[in-house]
Symmetry: C2
Subunit: 328 residues, 2 copies
Amino acid sequence: MHDVAAAAGVSRGTVNRVLNGGYVSADARTAIEAAIAKVGYVPNRAASMLARQRSQAVGFLALEPHSLLLEDPNIGAIMLGANSALSLADHQMVSLVIDSDRDMQRVGRYLSGGFVDGAIIVSARSHDPIIRLIGEIGLPTTFVGHPPDLARDMPYVGIDNIGSAREITRRLMQTGRTRIGMIAAALDRDSGADRLTGFKEALGDRFDPGLVADVPLYDYTYGVKGMRALLDREPAVDGVFAASDAVAAGALEALREAGRRVPEDVGVVGFDDSSWALRTQPPLSTVHQPAREVGRHAAELVLRQIAGTEPVELSVVLDSPVVWRHSA
Amino acid sequence: MHDVAAAAGVSRGTVNRVLNGGYVSADARTAIEAAIAKVGYVPNRAASMLARQRSQAVGFLALEPHSLLLEDPNIGAIMLGANSALSLADHQMVSLVIDSDRDMQRVGRYLSGGFVDGAIIVSARSHDPIIRLIGEIGLPTTFVGHPPDLARDMPYVGIDNIGSAREITRRLMQTGRTRIGMIAAALDRDSGADRLTGFKEALGDRFDPGLVADVPLYDYTYGVKGMRALLDREPAVDGVFAASDAVAAGALEALREAGRRVPEDVGVVGFDDSSWALRTQPPLSTVHQPAREVGRHAAELVLRQIAGTEPVELSVVLDSPVVWRHSA
DNA sequence: TTGTATGCGTTATCAT
DNA sequence: ATGATAACGCATACAA
């Protein structure tokens, strides 16, 4: 910048004004712009960051077991939604992966070091050390997925897993299924536990613990295993709520190998409305997750905290409607 | 840091020494450590970045159409591999998504602004503006996937798509298939074009352009469509090389709906050895992509450029062996 | 409208 | 082993 000022024959203050807006004469402006091009000037954002005490960047963390990070289509959609909202506000989204303890430490330093003005955190668990850290450094943050126990004053955005699970289970009942089972997954996370809760609520007295198979992850392969287990325990099962579309796709495979027709012999519903839902045969009835919108809202909540003008609502719960296709 | 120095009754220089290593007396050290805890000091990395002229961060860009970013399992594995190598060297990996022109500009500024010391760029196309930018600012970079035309002096790491495609096609021939087709995908990228080239080379005189269906993306749904097209054109087809496992999975579906048995009636092979390969029925014979290793190597090449001590090799081609399962 | 001066929080160099 | 001090490159408040 020094060079630019010299080349244009003005002071650095004026150069700064053409860069960041301000009163500048037309002559000075053109001279400076020419000088900028001539010396190939690129602003040093570290210096800017230091002087302004902000980075115009927002961190995106997905605290998932990495197998999920690679597969879960929701995460990607949330990222994209968040990115487009941040982009509109001229903020850079930077995603940080946490795949080890070492990563955890380093990311902690990164966040507290001022590299970002805020953060979006997806699927944190209550005990995740990151939550305490966020609280300590007071970084504007929005949680996605569910409200973290330890930071109840932090905004979060998500969907009503319980309600939607209840609703889609009810529809399964309304179509006349009498032996309805569930392949529950990821019961150690809120989304997984909530979906099971909704299932139970819908069934009420008719809930039979023997008809829920639980598997550790939202994964196709576990869907296959879960369905096999279910068939094993109750061959008469005629309805299945799979905790996610990937799981449902696996269930479909297991049903096919067992010679059951879907939806004639057994109705299957999933959750997420991900790309799985349309590629199975038949296409899945499922719960639509507005993942992109979730990301967008999360970004906006962070931006508003950063702006700090108005208070920010503590939670946004987005609609997740049932979409009825042919698998049930 | 000022506060810490004051609280510990020493100078800032000494504080810095306990932070970044150097000769410090035991007394001073303990006093300073106590002071650090007491005032809750966290280093400001912007200041450090400015003073040291480096960020200890490396950018990770996947220049994919976003539909792919969400689905392609390779990207995730490459990221994880790169992250673990960077982590070992105490560098923060930051992934940046480019989903619009606006993103492109902003990411460009981010990279040239000193927020990162280097970059890993996955699946750049020759005309991607990012390539020119990288050249201009001289950022230590490694390309993944294929060498960029415009930056031939930049290291890249990848696999031999042509050779592996040739090899797996040959194996298909050796198992006695006589009407072998290909579902080619993403012919506008090197990986896609190379796989088709390898296919042609293996077949030699026996290559029949009528037996290749080409689809735009490495995607399950396109696999279904491609296979249908192939069956339509040549009902006698008895071998298929799908450009990726996702495509192969789609092909399997189309074959099933057409009543063909795999591998009895038609043999199918894929590419990638992704999670698709094990979840199809039968499991796919395919080409194993060492995606994680690719990421690791890419990271190491970047780190070595940053260190700048030794010259760095211009390309690393990793082994991608055929793995034989039951689909052919 | 433009120039000047000071501060942002570290690192690094030099004395001591 | 420690303290003082000058960069690092930009933003900003104030003066002109």
